[in-house]
Each structure stands twice: as structure tokens, then as C-alpha cells.
């Protein structure tokens, strides 16, 4: 397929002191066929004006693996050719002059088993500041089964989470306690109790609720568990609240997590900003302590949102499935936060399927086998409400946590009413879907009918009927499916 030839300098000329182009040092190998065990990365490379595209892509391969700016003789003390990452394919990005997709293969031995920190230090290390590039984005990765198998994966996984909670056949319902800052422990627990008793399965701390002057963490944990247990007894149903154990040090996080465990919580929560190593530590702790581990993706938009530079969220989702969290915020499509429908579909597939086929229209560039690694439950949170239930079920499916924060607590008749409205809307929609109805188109009718026997749902539909967030997406796929030519 690739007509180009390798221009790698071989033999002793390769190691003459001085500077040599990356593409001649062995980092551009257009005839290389990636091995099943190679890690493959796909970068969107935007070279500085005047920089040759192939050279820029070879430089990315070099700088993310063995290269430095000049030839070093010490390469000859190693099996250097094996350790060099090899850019084997460069394609222009559709409709984006000056940008290129670079496919780069890395030998498995370049990476420490089971370490996201080690993987990312190479793949998104120094290379992102490399001067000859205007911008660089890591779009996708193919993780070989041999590498996947070195990770624990989600501590609990979707199936076991459902078994523990005794909840099957419908999305789980949650809400983030609002206002996110300022409530005392006692008031905070009130919101949790009302929401859970009203019909939600989970409530959630927000990402920046840790241990502040208005509410120290022990206060929150104790009042929340009173609320969870009261709601459980009031409904006969398992309930939970994500206690955020994010803190300044690992020691603090373990202390908080141990306390949550001791007082009977079934789930704890961390933020993405604690870092990959801390996340993996907490995942191991969660597996050991029968705890579901929720991850809030705080901070990700600083590097995932713009298409030209950073890391795509689909890569973050893959890393987090390896790292071992059980829940991850993955977008709502219809809510207030960034989310193109096709791109979001790709994220959800990465979280939930055992095999992801290449699907360019969803931004998925590689076949990915997960080798029975546990499934990761996506969470849809941010600006969604009961009136969108048919759309949410259609776009996001059944194995998802739908989180209605404002959409529960903002209900005109209170938090219990808001929770009940959401639960009734959800159950009515699942019932209709299973009956074979065209629930996507008949959604508003199905909701209206369910509201006849549920006043809180009627009120929710009236209050939020026209709320939508229709803005253009900043991260849509580059490939749009074109109808194949019929003969």
C-alpha cells in the first residue's frame, strides 16, 4: 500500500557523530508491519511551516522513544533497532491542510508492565513540547492484549456492580449534591437522604468537595451514611453515595477511604487530577476492599477539548479502563458539556465493550481487544433532565449512570419530587423500549402518559421543557461516512 521506501542509514554511517534527520535514523519505516504485540499510537501532527511532514512524524516517533537531538554512539550498546519507535504511515488529515496522522509502533519491551505512568511518560512526554511542531495530539492507541493483561482493570466492573447493587435492566440514577460548595455536613446529608429516598440509586460529591472549612470530610462521611442507611430502610433498595476521598497525599486518601469502608459505604470517588499512579493505587485498594471506584474527570478538558493539540478523551478512557476505575464521566451529548454524538459513542464503546472494531466515524482508529478486562461504567452528568430520557436512553444505552444534579435538586417541589420524576421517567421509557415501541420518536408521549399518574414528573417536564444546549462541537470526528457506490 505504501509506495515509499525506507531511507534509514544503516551500518557504521548511522553512528557518525553529528546531527541526522530523524527519518534517516530509523524512526520512519514505511514498510514496517506492526506486530500483534506492538503498542500503536496515532498522533495528529501539525509541523511548523517549512518542516517536512515525514520528518516531523519521524521526530515524534524518535522523541517518544529512544532518540535525542544528535547521534549517540551508546545506541550501539543496545538492540537499538528494536527499541526505536517506528512511524510506518503518514496520512494527511481530511479537510485540515498542514496536519497529518502519524501511525507509530512501539515495541512492547519499551514499557513497564501495568504502569500508566510509564506508558504516558513516553507517549505524552517531552515530545509534546518539541519545537519543530506547532501542535500535537494523541488521537488513539492500540493496546496489545499482551499489554492489557498486565493491568488489573476496573476494580468491580459493570456486571459485579449491578450484582452488588441488585439493579438490572436500566441505567442507574444519580445526582451531584448542590450547591457544590458551602453546605455543612448536616445539610449535605439532608440532600443525600431526600434524593435517595425519592428514587435515585446514588448521590455524588462534586469534584472539589474534599475537606474545607465549611465541611470537613469526616462530617460529610458520617452524615452521608446516616442518609444512605435511612433511605435504604425507607425503600428496601440498595443505595450509595460517592464519597470523594481526593486529598493532598496518598496517606490522606487511604485514611479517608479506610474510614468510608469502615462505616459501610459501597463506593468511593477520586478525581482525575490526583494523577495516574494515585488512581492505580486507589483501584488496587478498591479491589481489595470490595469498593466501587468512581472517577470524576476533573481537568481533562484542558487537554482533550481542542482538536489540534493534547490528548483525545478516547485515549484517557482507555488508560482509565486499564488503570482500574469503575465509573468514568464520559459525556451526555445532550447536556451542558462538550460532546459530539459520534465521538461520545466511541468513548462509551471503549468503556463497555470487550472488542472495539475500528470505526473512523466514531473516532476509533484501531481494533481493540480488551481480553475480558472488566467493563467500565460511563457516567453522563451535566445539564440533563427527565424530559430528555428517550434521547439519553437512545444515545447512551442501558449501562450508564445518568446523573441529574440540577435536574433533581432544582425541582419546584423539592428533591424527593425531583428524584421521583427522574425515576418514573426512566422506568416508563425502559418499559416502552422493551415493549418494542419506537420510544425515540414517541418519547414525549410516553413521558406525558407516565406523568398522568406522577405529578412530580408533570412538573419537571413543565419546568425544563425547552432546556437544551445546542452548540457546535469542538471535537467531532475527522471522518464522515460516505455512502458506498452502488453498482
Amino acid at each position: 500500500m505504501n509506495m515509499q521506501q525506507s531511507i534509514t542509514v544503516r551500518g557504521k554511517d548511522r553512528y557518525k557523530s553529528g546531527v541526522m534527520e530523524y527519518k534517516r535514523m530509523g524512526y520512519w519505516e514505511p514498510n514496517y508491519e506492526p506486530k500483534d504485540t506492538d503498542v500503536i499510537a496515532l498522533f495528529r501532527v501539525t509541523p511548523q511551516d517549512g518542516v517536512d511532514a515525514t520528518e516531523a512524524c519521524a521526530a515524534v516517533a524518535g522523541e517518544s522513544s529512544t532518540a535525542t537531538w544528535t547521534v549517540v554512539w551508546t545506541d550501539r550498546l543496545t538492540a537499538a533497532e528494536k527499541y526505536r519507535a517506528k512511524c510506518y504511515r503518514v496520512d494527511p488529515v481530511p479537510n485540515s491542510p498542514g496536519s497529518y496522522f502519524a501511525y507509530i509502533a512501539y515495541d512492547l519491551d519499551l514499557f513497564e508492565p501495568g504502569s500508566i505512568a510509564n506508558l504516558t511518560a513516553s507517549i505524552i512526554g517531552n515530545v509534546f513540547g518539541f519545537k519543530p511542531l506547532k501542535a500535537l495530539r494523541l488521537e488513539d492507541m492500540r493496546l496489545p492484549v499482551a499489554y492489557v493483561k498486565t493491568f488489573q482493570g476496573p476494580a468491580t466492573g459493570i456486571v459485579v456492580e449491578r450484582e452488588r447493587l441488585d439493579k438490572f435492566g436500566r441505567p442507574l440514577l444519580g445526582a451531584t449534591v448542590k450547591p457544590k460548595l458551602g453546605l455543612s455536613g448536616r445539610n449535605y446529608g439532608r440532600v443525600v437522604y431526600e434524593a435517595l429516598k425519592g428514587g435515585l440509586d446514588f448521590t455524588k460529591d462534586d469534584e472539589n468537595i474534599n475537606s474545607q472549612p465549611f465541611m470537613h470530610w469526616r462530617e460529610r462521611f458520617l452524615y452521608c451514611m446516616e442518609a444512605v442507611n435511612r433511605a435504604q430502610a425507607a425503600t428496601g433498595e440498595i443505595k450509595g453515595t460517592y464519597l470523594n476521598v481526593t486529598a493532598a497525599t496518598m496517606e490522606d486518601m487511604y485514611e479517608r477511604a479506610e474510614f468510608a469502608h469502615e462505616i459501610g459505604s459501597n463506593i468511593v470517588m477520586i478525581d482525575l487530577v490526583i494523577g495516574y499512579t494515585a488512581i492505580q493505587s486507589m483501584a488496587k485498594w478498591a479491589r481489595k476492599n470490595n469498593m466501587i471506584l468512581h472517577l470524576h474527570r476533573a481537568g481533562h478538558s484542558t487537554y482533550t477539548r481542542q482538536r489540534s493539540h493534547g490528548v483525545s478523551f478516547r485515549v484517557i478512557a482507555k488508560w482509565m479502563r486499564l488503570a482500574g476505575v469503575d465509573h468514568i464521566h464520559a459525556g451526555t451529548v445532550v447536556g451542558k458539556l462538550e460532546g459530539d454524538p459520534n465521538t461520545t459513542r466511541g468513548y462509551y464503546d471503549i468503556c463497555r465493550e470487550d472488542f472495539n472494531p475500528m470505526q473512523l466515524e466514531h473516532g476509533v482508529f484501531f481494533d481493540q481487544h480488551w481480553a475480558s478486562l472488566n467493563r467500565l461504567m460511563p457516567v453522563a452528568s451535566g445539564g440533563i433532565h427527565a424530559g430528555q430520557m428517550h434521547q439519553l436512553l437512545d444515545l447512551l444505552g442501558e449501562d450508564v449512570v445518568l446523573q441529574f444534579g440540577g435536574g433533581t435538586i432544582g425541582h419546584p417541589r423539592g428533591i424527593q419530587a425531583g428524584a421521583t420524576a427522574n425515576r418514573v421517567a426512566l422506568e416508563a421509557m425502559i418499559l416502552a423500549r422493551n415493549e418494542g415501541r419506537d420510544y425515540v420518536h414517541e418519547g414525549p408521549e410516553i413521558l406525558a402518559k407516565a406523568a398522568l399518574s406522577c405529578t412530580p414528573l408533570r412538573e419537571a417536564l413543565d419546568v425544563w421543557k425547552d432546556v437544551t444546549f445546542n452548540y457546535e462541537s469542538t471535537d467531532a470526528p475527522d471522518f464522515i461516512p460516505t455512502p458506498s457506490m452502488a453498482v
Partner: protein, 141 residues
């Protein structure tokens, strides 16, 4: 109180026609349908009694509705639930579960608290019905 376990507890009780439609949905997916009953609806009571084995080979909702009718004749004063079980690789668990019959009166649960040091509380959920022996819990209510 109304126990809200299962997929449809927030809706009005399902009619037999509605139940049959959900059963048919399970069968169309290739799941085995199971009927279970209990008079101990504690949220951690995982193992309800099975009304026979899961119906791995039944492909028609009518057959299952007949089994449900038989189960109701004997245990209609207790909780009965229907579940769909998916044996495919990577799931191998329940896919759908919902209550189809419940006692006329559901007395609910008492929350017991055992106070401990540091304001810690040990919680225990106590079913009012389960204070009586199995089989006599709902009979004369």
C-alpha cells in the same frame, strides 16, 4: 411503604399483558426467564426461592405466564419477581429483574442503630415482616 427493588417499582403495578411483553423481550434476547418468590424482602436477601429452574428452553411468553399463574396460586401473598438471565460470555448474570406480585400490605423496615465511638454508627436494616417465621409473614395481613 412500597419496596422499590427491581426495574419497574415506580410505575403502577404491571398488568399481565405488560408482564408478558417484558417476558417476550427477554426471550427475544435469548435470555432464560426465572420466577422467584420470597417473604423476606431485605435489600441484601439475594437468594429468593426459585419456582423451579430457570426456563432455559421455553421460548414462548405464554408458557412463562402460566408458570407465573401457578406460582401466584401458591405464593400470591408474597413477593414474586421475574428475571431474565443472559449466559453469554462477559455477562453471565441477570439482565432484567422486576417485581410482579407483592403482598397487600408491605410493613417495611426498621433501621437499628448501634452507637459507637467517634459518632460512628453500625446500621442494621430490620424487616418487620421477618419477625415472624417463614411462611407466616404475610398470610393473615
Amino acid at each position: 411503604m412500597r419496596i422499590t427493588q427491581g426495574c419497574f417499582s415506580f410505575l403502577p403495578d404491571l398488568t399481565d399483558e405488560q408482564i408478558a411483553a417484558q417476558v417476550q423481550y427477554c426471550l427475544d434476547k435469548g435470555w432464560a426467564v426465572n420466577i422467584e418468590f420470597t417473604d423476606d424482602p431485605h435489600p441484601r436477601n439475594t437468594y429468593w426461592e426459585m419456582w423451579g429452574l430457570p426456563m432455559f428452553d421455553l421460548r414462548d411468553a405464554a408458557g412463562i405466564m402460566k408458570e407465573l399463574a401457578d406460582c401466584r396460586r401458591v405464593y400470591g401473598d408474597r413477593y414474586i419477581r421475574i428475571s431474565g438471565f443472559d449466559s453469554s460470555h462477559g455477562w453471565e448474570s441477570v439482565r432484567l429483574s422486576f417485581i410482579v406480585t407483592r403482598p397487600q400490605e408491605e410493613p417495611g423496615f426498621r433501621l437499628d442503630r448501634q452507637e459507637s465511638v467517634g459518632r460512628n454508627v453500625r446500621y442494621s436494616t430490620h424487616s418487620y415482616a421477618a419477625t415472624r417465621p417463614e411462611g407466616e409473614r404475610y398470610a393473615d395481613r
